[in-house]
Symmetry: C2
Subunit: 200 residues, 2 copies
């Protein structure tokens, strides 16, 4: 070890970020100290500002500086449809696709008993209360097509099945548009065949 204590502390703090090992953290620390002290100061400020300012939307749990996020406070969105996703990045992806005009509810994760993540940690109570209030007519479950995502979707649909006048749907799974069949995995192909739709 040939780094000074403060440099070493900076390396250790950088290492806490996902995907950053000791070597990368060392490169980042030396980059800041040797080349871009201004950039480092700006990063420290951006972190402090974001931690002070960014909270969760009281309706959909998306990250926002306001009590409600820009989607929930947009009166032109379809107020009767609610799409449940696992993460804020899923909202970005769906927004970028341009095919959805309703509202969102972000679980910030999925059910995972092994990691101690239960219904209360992903806001299921808040979701059910919102659905019971009655504005929402359709609930679209867009959790990931993974074991945990499927289990989460299944759990939510079982919780809300007694709410009157609410349609619950799951996003379609199958062969990605534009892909070649021979490159699609067997699991997806099986699903695509068993969920085939009749043509009119």
């Amino acid at each position: 070890m040939s780094f000074s204590p403060l440099t070493e502390q900076l390396i250790q703090a950088l290492r806490t970020m996902p995907g950053v090992g000791y070597k990368s953290a060392q490169k980042m620390a030396l980059y800041f100290l040797e080349r871009d002290r201004g950039g480092a100061r700006r990063l420290a400020q951006a972190i402090d500002k974001a931690m002070d300012g960014v909270g969760h939307c009281e309706d959909c749990r998306l990250l926002t500086e306001s009590p409600k996020c820009h989607i929930c406070s947009d009166a032109t969105r379809v107020q009767e449809t609610l799409c449940v996703v696992e993460n804020p990045t899923d909202v970005s992806a769906i927004e970028a696709s341009g095919g959805y005009e309703g509202l969102y509810f972000v679980l910030m994760g999925h059910l995972s008993p092994i990691d101690g993540i239960g219904p209360e940690d992903i806001g299921i109570d808040q979701l059910i209360n919102r659905l019971k209030s009655g504005t929402i007519k359709e609930l679209i479950l867009a959790t990931n097509p993974t074991v945990e995502g499927e289990a989460t979707a299944h759990y939510i649909s079982s919780c809300v099945k007694d709410i009157d006048g609410l349609t619950v749907s799951r996003i379609a799974h199958g062969v990605p548009v534009g892909s070649e069949l021979e490159q699609v995995d067997a699991h997806t192909l099986n699903h695509a065949i068993s969920s085939r739709k009749k043509l009119d």
Copy 2:
């Protein structure tokens, strides 16, 4: 774009780090905001402390909080040998090898006219003044075996050749110890053969 302004500013600030693209920066920002706000605060503090506290050793230019680094202020090190390296990480590597007990001089880069990096940017004047003061008897050039590293070593050796009583050496290049010949590149192998040493 579905992130709030402060989140987006944090992502942009994280992107300035080497090896971090938009997707990684997004993952880091969401990780901090969702999972580890304490870790984010600690990172911001570590950055500020390091930028305030860490400077360069007045003798060898290594990063340090004191006027002199822990190597230059260690009286048990051999004071007559000076090893010139490009980066602080090179000092770490040589220290870890355990085979060197002298002092260092860190260039913090190499000559690179195309990037506008000349002798004054890598502290050649400071190095020459130190060598002229007379304590150093041997100068070991341990810049990298790259085009720029070789050019830098050559430039330094030409600058110091008139200093009386100073031996200048270059670290040996050849086949790495423990490697297999068939896996060593042609350039290294050529060098290893042309620089062969007679056995006694």
